[in-house]
Subunit: 211 residues, 2 copies
C-alpha cells in the first residue's frame, strides 16, 4: 500500500468516526412504539429506504441517488443541531449559515476529491432544484408525517398544530414531487384529525351527560 | 390515481412503518461517546456511508449497490434479533432459519415485484458470493472494529476477546475484500491491544512496588 492510500484511509476513518455523533442528535418525532424520540442517524436510514421503496411514484428520479442525498442530508446537524419544522422561533438565515459551516468542516475531514463530492451532494439537497433533491425533500416531510399519524399526532399534538397547518407545511413539498403519494398522505392526515375531533366530541358529550 | 397505485402505496407505507422497529433492536457495540449501545437502524445508516466512502479500496464493487445491501441487511433482526459476533452460544443454523422466515414475512409486506427484489438483495448479502456482498460483509466487520478501538475495546473488552481472536474473526472477512483497509484496521487493533498490555504492566508494576 502506498503512503498516499494509507493517509487517505486514515482521513476516511476520521470522517466515519465523526459521523457517529449523528446518533446522538435527537429529533422531535417519537418512534412508533413511543419508547423515545428518534435520532437523526436512524431517521436518515429510514429515509434512504423510503427512497428505494417509493421512487416509482415520482418522475425522473434515480432511487439510489435520492437515497444517497438522504444518507448525507442531516450530517451537518452534528454541529448545527436539528431544526424542528414546527419551531416558531427558527431563524432560517442563521440555520443556513451554521449548516454551511458544518458541511465545510465535516465533509472537509475527507480526502479530496471525495470531500468536494460529498459536499456537493449536500448542496444539491439544500438547493432543492434537481428532481432527485425535490423528491428527497418530499420524503423528508413524508416520513415524520407517517410517524405522526401512527403516534396520535406526534409532533403535531406536541406543538398544537392544526390540520390546516399540516396541509400547508407538508402538502406543497410532497405533492410537488409526487401527486399519488400526496393523495395517500393527505388521507392519513384527514383520518388522524377526524379521530382527534371525534375524541373531543366524545369528551364534550360525556361532560354534558354528567351535568 | 388508479386503485392499483393506491393499494401499492398502502402496502409500501405498511412496510416502512414496520421498519421503525429496527430502531429498537440493540447491538452490543457502544456509541463512541459511550452514552448507550448502538441500534441496528443507525448502524445500517453508518454502514451505508462506509460503503460510499470506502468502496474505492475494493475491486469490482459498485458503491451504491453495496450501500443498498447494507441498508437492508439487518431488517430481519426485527423478528430474529441481533446475533452478536462474540456470543459463544450462537447457533448459526437456528439463526439462519429465523432470519429467513423474518425476511419472507417483512419483505412480503411489499407489493410484487418489489417484495421479491428486496428479498433478493438480502439473499445476495447472506450468500456472500458477489464482490458487492463480500465488501458489504467486510464493512459490517470494519464498523464495529472501528467503534471498539475508540471505546477502550468495546465488545472485545466486554467479552474478554484476545488480540488473536480479533485477528481471526475480523481479518479474513476484511482482508478478503480489501487488503489496504485490513492493513489500517490491523494497525488500529494492534495499537489498542498494546495500550491494554501497557496498562496491565503498569498495574503489575505498581502492585510490585507496593509489595
Ligand atoms: Ca450487521
Amino acid at each position: 500500500m502506498t503512503m498516499d492510500a494509507a493517509s487517505k484511509i486514515r482521513k476516511q476513518f476520521a470522517f466515519l468516526a465523526e459521523l457517529d455523533q449523528l446518533k446522538s442528535v435527537i429529533r422531535q418525532s417519537p418512534l412508533i412504539n413511543r419508547t423515545r424520540y428518534e435520532n437523526s442517524a436512524e431517521h436518515s436510514w429510514h429515509l434512504a429506504i423510503f427512497a428505494i421503496v417509493l421512487s416509482e411514484h415520482a418522475d425522473g428520479v434515480d432511487p439510489l441517488a435520492v437515497a444517497t442525498l438522504l444518507l448525507v442530508h442531516d450530517i451537518v446537524e452534528i454541529d448545527a443541531g436539528d431544526t424542528p419544522l414546527h419551531d416558531p422561533g427558527r431563524d432560517i438565515g442563521v440555520v443556513n449559515i451554521k449548516e454551511r459551516d458544518a458541511a465545510r468542516r465535516i465533509f472537509g475531514l475527507l480526502p479530496e476529491p471525495q470531500a468536494t463530492h460529498l459536499l456537493s451532494l449536500w448542496e444539491e439537497f439544500e438547493a432543492n432544484e434537481t428532481p432527485n433533491a425535490q423528491f428527497a425533500k418530499a420524503l423528508d416531510r413524508l416520513q415524520p408525517l407517517l410517524l405522526n399519524t401512527l403516534t396520535d399526532g406526534g409532533t403535531w399534538t406536541r406543538n398544537n398544530i392544526t390540520q390546516e397547518q399540516v396541509m400547508q407545511r407538508y402538502g406543497p413539498v410532497i405533492e410537488g414531487a409526487s401527486k399519488s403519494l400526496w393523495v395517500e398522505a393527505a388521507a392519513l392526515i384527514r383520518r388522524h384529525f377526524s379521530k382527534v375531533e371525534g375524541a373531543e366530541e366524545a369528551k364534550t358529550d360525556s361532560v354534558e351527560s354528567n351535568v
